[in-house]
Subunit: 350 residues, 2 copies
């Protein structure tokens, strides 16, 4: 079900241990065998080789970004991605959103007793491939096993460290009235792809998750040396939550135009069937750029020339400094408040 093919065989003798046992988390020989054969062989580097409780890192800068995320997506594999690559991209993206270059990653696995060893191997291979693609090194890890029925296959926590190569403060507090807001592409594909896979629905066209690393694109934007004020990826709660969080944190009003927000036809259709609003659906490869109006064209041009930004557009702007709120102007020009989701529309989407 994953888009990647794993040609390498799982190096643990699957005949002896086809499934994860509680003992694989017990600190004894079985755990060490699993760590060596599955994890260490996939994430080889000089730091992991030390086999120390902590990774010792010499950073190129003492100003760093740190971020953490746990991944509990269900199913583990879905069109366009899987929990392994997501657990790398998601954390890499959070670092990139702070304007930091992703550098090091930790990984904490919580495995459910009975998980197929082959499944773990595939997830770990996908993580390793994603880490390589992002130029980030996995330097320390941990594995726990919980009894059958007390977990759900695999949960992964990754924590990332990134370094700053510039002195811009890219954060909600830097947002200014007049800033243009750029979105790098169409909305809703990740959430919908996962829901379709989970529910076993079949649609005419296959919708693939947009899960991807945004770091390369963000580094190119930073190279422009223009006034980028804030970056934010559109994960849980989608575009509407991200806009509301930022409006609230910075205390500003934001106006966005529905007609500038790209949503694919098949995603629209699936949303209607599932009773979802694409503005609230989670994405894993979409982000907003808040940029000084005069620099917006320059930034948009660079985004559109990148594979992850072909459908980019300016979707709105920051209008006022008081009474924080987000207004959506719809296709016919009527405007309404775009509120934050109250409850839950898509559980376990990341």
């Amino acid at each position: 079900m994953t888009k990647k093919e794993f040609s390498m065989q799982c190096p643990l003798p699957v005949r002896d241990y086809p499934r994860v046992l509680l003992a694989h988390g017990g600190g004894g020989k079985l755990m060490h065998q699993m760590i060596e054969k599955i994890f260490a062989s996939s994430f080889q580097n000089e730091i992991l080789k030390k086999r120390h409780d902590s990774a010792i890192l010499s950073l190129p800068s003492s100003k760093i970004a740190m971020t953490t995320d746990s991944y509990v997506v269900r199913p583990l594999f879905f069109p366009g991605g899987d929990i392994g690559s997501m657990s790398v991209y998601g954390t890499v993206n959070d670092l990139a959103m702070a304007g930091a270059r992703p550098k090091y990653l930790s990984a904490g696995f919580i495995l459910e007793e009975g998980l197929e060893m082959e499944t773990l191997w595939k997830v770990v291979q996908s993580m390793a491939d994603a880490a390589k693609e992002c130029g980030i090194e996995l330097v320390t890890g941990d594995t726990k096993v919980v009894d059958k029925g007390k977990g759900d296959g695999i949960f992964i926590n990754t924590t990332g460290i990134g370094v700053f190569e510039h002195s811009q403060a890219i954060e909600p507090q830097s947002i200014r009235t007049g800033d243009k807001i750029i979105l790098n592409g169409d909305l809703g594909r990740h959430g919908i792809a996962v829901m379709i896979a989970r529910e076993g629905l079949s649609l005419e066209s296959q919708i693939e998750s947009d899960s991807a690393s945004l770091a390369d694109l963000v580094m190119k934007l930073l190279d422009l040396k223009v006034e980028i004020h804030c970056l934010r990826d559109l994960t849980r709660g989608g575009l509407s939550s991200a806009l509301n969080e930022l409006a609230e944190t910075r205390g500003v009003q934001i106006r966005v135009e529905e007609k500038s927000i790209p949503v694919r036809e098949d995603v629209h259709g699936a949303c209607e069937i599932l009773g979802l609003d694409p503005l609230y659906v989670a994405n894993e490869g979409r982000f907003l750029v808040f940029v000084k109006a005069g620099d917006a064209d320059k930034v948009l041009k660079v985004i559109k020339s990148h594979p992850l930004g072909e459908a980019a557009s300016v979707i709105g702007e920051v209008t006022k400094e008081k009474d924080p709120r987000v207004t959506l102007v719809n296709q016919v020009g009527t405007s309404r408040i775009l509120d934050m989701l109250s409850g839950e529309q898509l559980p376990r989407i990341c």
Copy 2:
């Protein structure tokens, strides 16, 4: 059941939301309310206040240690500790074992739908107290909620960053033949305390976990500026796994004397009832110091003068550079190989 008293009331309206809902992990209003009322109010600091995807940290040094651990202990509260304080101490200890001063922490929560909000609040309070005690700041976090029956109350991942204030390489590779091995206290209490709580056993005396932060003691040892070669805490797999891992990684032989290894009478008794060997039982406040023989007395003296080292002793030494193995000399002078545990004796102990 925990040793701490929580006088503060849970600030979330428990009448409205007595239990965690899937929606508390959905990225909407409920999640933000929980984050503000439970997490942000407990871990207040300038960095968290920014409400950014990443924490931005200015470190006093660019040489750092990074470590990660997930905590899945069952039950959540046990005599002498709980999952909250453990999730701080455990990660702080891993940083200290590298000789780093613990500085920043991330926390990733995986909550099970239906968890009592009051329980979450108590765990978070315990984490906040422990972090304060250790002088470490929790600077970034994440919360996910999984459906009922797909988790087990609370799982916590913490990832820690520590900084180096010296240039000693405290790591397995620094171990030398002739090094003395010092243990800071009696073995087995954590594992036994958790097992007794989990199984609902009642013994004459109460056995409390040894769960504690070792950072203060380690910083005092580093201040001595003597040749400390390696530090290792005795968690999963206990003393025997730690010694075997180090013998293997460094390629040396280690000999330890059973009579020098303190185990409390009641722990011995409980181990016999439960069919466990205290040398394999997990601890959460015990560690080994590998130190140049000539410096051992000085180090032992400092450890013994610390509340966490009153029962400390030299338990053995590094004898040879080849054929890695660990030998245990028993009370009557006979020696045997002390092997690593093959399977699992105590699931979900940390």
